[in-house]
């Protein structure tokens, strides 16, 4: 798959999402619009409840918007059915979760290769490179529970990059890590994402981390501030 920096990878237009709560409907996103170029990195910031994670989930096809459109490589994700959004998550989008979400019963090597295998784009050499660059070569035969939190997050990042997605979504990827480990993990991730030419959209509370990305988008009460 080939991407060209400077081309529009993602266009979000007038996106809205409302959740039903015990206190009545709650509008999490209210007409959010944004764009992301291929190879560009964007930090999504905002207070808790401002709609950052919801926006990330909608772009990742994990949830459906109530209104608006999400054009990823020209395809409107909002119109896809469950199978279509699953296919999108397999091959086009990669998500790095705060909780790592590794498969506990698979060894590290299998976890790294897992999403690429799902996408039908498994490249053993590329997986070996990712493991090496993430400092995981000595842990490939271990299970996730045998690794530290920082190591597990590196596995999750390698897994996300293994199928070479066009867009990487990261939801506070270092939220569970100490400051030093977080910095190391971020360095590795930014470097590898840049090498693959993928776009990066990262939710973070950390102003320091946000400052390391090319652009920043601040959300407030479900709207772009």
């Amino acid at each position: 798959m080939c991407y060209f920096n400077g081309m529009t990878l993602l266009t979000v237009d007038n996106l809205s999402k409302t959740y039903a709560t015990a206190d009545g409907p709650f509008a999490v996103l209210r007409g959010v619009s944004m764009t992301l170029e291929a190879g560009e990195s964007l930090a999504l910031t905002g207070e808790s409840g401002s709609g950052k994670s919801t926006l990330l989930h909608l772009i990742g096809g994990l949830d459906r918007p109530d209104a608006g459109s999400i054009l990823l490589q020209g395809q409107d994700i909002a119109r896809l059915d469950d199978a279509g959004r699953a296919a999108l998550r397999r091959g086009t989008v990669g998500v790095v979760f705060q909780q790592f979400n590794l498969i506990p019963s698979l060894k590290i090597a299998d976890n790294i290769a897992f999403q690429a295998r799902l996408a039908g784009r498994h490249d053993a050499d590329w997986c070996a490179v990712l493991a090496d660059r993430m400092g995981l070569t000595d842990h490939l035969r271990k299970y996730p529970e045998q690794l530290s939190g920082g190591q597990q997050q590196r596995v999750a990042i390698a897994r996300t990059l293994a199928p070479r997605p066009a867009l990487v979504l990261a939801d506070e990827p270092t939220g569970n890590l100490d400051e030093g480990t977080a910095a190391t993990v971020m360095d590795m991730m930014l470097e590898l994402v840049a090498e693959t030419g993928a776009g990066l959209l990262m939710v973070t509370h950390s102003q320091a981390l946000a400052g390391r990305l090319q652009r920043r988008l601040h959300l407030r009460a479900g709207q772009v501030a």
Partner: protein, 793 residues
């Protein structure tokens, strides 16, 4: 994608082999018990079918000699010439094999070689060319006889043309009976005119072997289902826990792009693969169980009903297919709710570490509602149930309702104890036990069902044994029973007994039809034996006086129930019509009975001559038999002392319930296994719960001891609750199912010592099951406990 996703799903089992073992073992045990019982049933039914194809003469009226012996073939010829549609038959013993001689041309269709398949040379058979048919096992015993193998034939039975049979038995020209075809021409001359020495014997109708043994098989099937239900509780627990633990993986798989439908399909396929593997293991296990139990089942059926079951097990498709089918059905039942939950689980649901407990809490309310509805249904059926199906429906509602009610009841008991606990350890213990309850509830339900089944069945068996022993004392009151070969021997016996001052009580009977039901009429001598020993279930004042005065009869319970007879109702057979003065218990006898005084009997059945007698001897029975032999020539082989009869009768009934006892033990073992597996599976989840207690100063050994105490305490509570359920089960078996299946009701006795022993077994099972997990917990490395408090866990 499919391969990678399936591999990820399967990797869970690879990393959790104990869970996989629990699932497969639970399903295999459940299938094994079910298919074992089905194997026994299938084998027995096949034997009946074989018997029916060769021994179906009981379905037809028969003409027999008045003296019960053989008669000349001329009678047959005379009857045929007069237009009677009858078919001759001769039977006899040939090397321990029952040889049946039939006339293929006139025998009813479907009987004997007429219905046999390939290999039958009918032409040769018809011309009497010495063709004898038997199955392979029986043929091996017929040395010197040319035998054609016919596997459909019953064991110990051979069939031949009547001429061949007469020759082989050395009874040329003689016939034992004539089968009377159902459709006879009109205007036939009366039997007395054509063959005055013959008498008509009515068909056995409702007392055929299959009908009698159906009730026994129904009991076996019920036990198979109960055992399977216990197993399904285990499987449900294992699948539920495994799916609960894989919620995170399922969410991850979906987030990574596996479509929900594909995921559900893969999980279903995974379950079906397990069902197939466990089903095959279970069927093999069932074969072993059946092979071990079948000899006892065969002995039971032979002793109880006279049905001949081979005792050799064949791999019949009907039961191994049903075994596999029940394995698949059980897996789908147990896994259905888990799959449904996965299909409805939102992709973005937050992680719920206590999801199992929370889900159990949500289920508790509707589970209690279902329990109350089922128990109410059982209560309604107590008053309305009539028949086997309703009886078993009541059993099902009672058992499942009680099982569903167990967790809320236990929770209430624990809450009560918790509120009154003094001391911090006790408070923690009760609170922690309540938290463990959801994870253990399925295993405890299985234990309760197993204990209840044990209590219920052992109460039924013991009640039966106690009642039957008393019945034998009552009915076998005479000290000695003697059979005579001839009228001369009979006269000699009576003469000798008179000189010795010994009362002789003739035992003589005739088969009749009463209100459309087959029954036996006994002619009885007026003697204190009956007044002193027979216990009536219902009687009018002076029942025996009226009976011996020829003004009334007494009948057994079976006849009273089948014919709807009550005290005072008239009983009619032949020219006799007498009211019922008493109804007596007649346990184990499938046939209705009427007892009347011998004078009336002799008038109605003048041709029946007593050949058996009960003798009331006050001295030594052995000396009397020696003197009798010396004086009359009646051999010791013609006498049976009372103790001998009782011993034989009791031995039959001891074996009758060997099968159910074995199934009881297996069911309890399965429940013990359920507790063990639940505790082992939960052990890993216990570490985070126990770590704070350890950190606050409790030793690992103390925690291990409390774990053991918790399991034993829950098992004891469950056993206490299972006792009333078991007694209710026994009542349903004795008062509803037994009446519907056998036609008589048994009194119910209580056996506290047996229940205490059973409680002891349940306690031992719980200690054994909980011991290992507690020991493992007590030896949990401090490092594992410390991880609970580390961020990096």
């Amino acid at each position: 994608m499919t391969r990678a996703a399936f591999g990820a799903l399967l990797s869970h089992w690879w990393r959790n082999p104990l869970q996989l073992f629990t699932l497969l073992a639970g399903l295999a045990l459940a299938t094994g018990l079910w298919s074992g019982v089905q194997a026994i049933n299938a084998e027995a039914r096949a034997s009946y079918d074989a018997a029916a194809s060769t021994l179906d003469e009981g379905r037809y009226d028969r003409l027999v000699a008045r003296d019960g012996g053989a008669f000349a073939q001329d009678n047959y010829i005379a009857l045929r010439r007069a237009g009677w549609q009858v078919s001759p038959m001769v039977t006899g013993d040939l090397n321990g094999v029952r040889l049946i001689g039939l006339d293929a041309l006139t025998a009813p269709s479907g009987m004997g070689p007429v219905s046999l398949g390939g290999g039958t040379d009918l032409g040769a058979f018809l011309t009497g060319s010495a063709q004898v048919f038997a199955n392979a096992a029986t043929a091996a015993r017929l040395d010197g006889v040319e035998v054609l193998i016919a596997d459909d034939l019953a064991n110990d039975t051979a069939v031949a043309d009547i001429g061949t049979a007469q020759a082989l038995l050395g009874r040329e020209g003689l016939i034992d009976s004539l089968l009377v075809m159902p459709d006879q021409p009109v205007g036939l001359p009366a039997l007395g005119e054509v063959a005055p020495d013959l008498t008509m014997q009515a068909a056995q109708g409702g007392t055929d072997i299959a009908g009698l043994t159906d009730s026994f098989h129904l009991n076996l099937t019920a036990f198979g289902l109960l055992s399977f239900a216990v197993g399904i509780f285990i499987v449900h627990g294992a699948i539920g826990l495994a799916f609960e633990q894989r919620r995170g993986m399922v969410r991850t798989l979906r987030a990574l792009g596996v479509p929900l439908n594909r995921l559900i399909g893969l999980m279903l396929a995974e379950l079906l693969v397990f069902a197939l593997v466990a089903g095959v293991i279970g069927v093999a296990l069932g074969y072993v169980i059946a092979a071990l139990l079948l000899p006892d089942v065969a002995a039971t059926l032979r002793g109880l009903y006279g049905a001949d079951v081979s005792g050799n097990l064949q791999l019949r498709p009907v039961w191994w297919l049903s075994g596999l089918g029940i394995a698949f059905a059980g897996t789908l039942i147990a896994g259905g709710s888990a799959l449904w939950g996965i299909s409805k689980m939102p992709l973005l649901a937050a992680a719920q570490p206590r999801a199992l407990a929370m889900a159990a809490g949500r289920r508790a309310r509707w589970q209690l509602v279902v329990a109350l509805v089922l128990l109410a249904l059982a209560a309604v059926l107590v008053f309305t149930a009539d028949g086997l199906v309703a009886g078993f429906a009541m059993l099902g509602a009672l058992l499942i309702g009680a099982a569903f009610a167990l967790p809320p009841v236990l929770n209430a008991v624990l809450a009560f104890a918790s509120a009154r606990a003094k001391g911090v350890t006790a408070q923690w213990f009760w609170a922690d036990t309540r938290q463990q309850l959801p994870g253990l509830s399925l295993a405890l339900m299985a234990l309760m069902l197993a204990i209840a089944a044990n209590v219920g069945v052992s109460t039924m068996v013991s009640s039966f044994r106690l009642t039957f022993t008393g019945f034998l004392d009552q009915r076998l009151a005479s000290e000695l029973y003697v059979s005579t070969d001839s009228a001369e021997q009979t006269a000699a016996l009576i003469s000798y007994a008179e000189t010795e001052g010994v009362a002789v009580l003739p035992i003589q009977s005739a088969d009749v039809q009463i209100a459309g039901h087959p029954a036996e009429v006994f002619g009885t001598r007026d003697h204190a034996t009956y007044r002193d020993n027979w216990q009536f279930l219902q009687s009018s004042a002076g029942a025996w006086d009226a009976t011996f005065a020829g003004q009334a009869v007494v009948i057994n319970e079976q006849l009273a129930r089948r014919a709807g007879l009550a005290l005072g109702d008239p009983v009619t057979f032949g020219s006799v019509t007498l009211p019922v003065a008493g109804i007596y218990g007649d346990y184990g006898n499938p046939v209705g009975q009427v007892v009347l005084v011998e004078d009336v009997f002799a008038t109605e059945f003048p041709h029946v001559v007593a050949r058996q007698f009960g003798l009331r001897i006050s001295g030594d029975v052995g000396d009397f038999v020696n003197d009798l032999t010396a004086a009359t020539g009646i051999g010791a082989g013609q006498t049976i002392d009372q103790a001998g009869i009782k011993a034989v009768s009791l031995a039959i009934f001891e074996r009758t319930f060997t099968v159910t006892t074995a199934l009881n033990i297996l069911t309890l073992a399965v429940a013990g296994f359920a507790i063990l597996m639940s505790l082992l599976t939960l052990a890993a989840m216990r570490v985070p719960q126990l770590a704070p207690a350890w950190a606050m100063g409790m030793t690992r050994a103390a925690l291990g001891r409390l774990e053991l105490l918790r399991a034993v305490m829950l098992a004891v509570l469950t056993a206490v609750l299972a006792l009333p359920l078991g007694l209710a089960l026994a009542w349903v078996l004795l008062a509803v199912v037994n009446v519907a299946a056998f036609g008589w009701q048994l009194p119910m006795y209580l056996f506290p010592l047996d229940y205490a022993r059973l409680g002891g077994f349940a306690l031992v099972a719980a200690v054994l099951a909980a011991g290992w997990p507690a020991w493992r917990l007590a030896r949990t490395p401090p490092g594992d406990l410390l991880k609970v408090f580390a961020n990096e866990r």
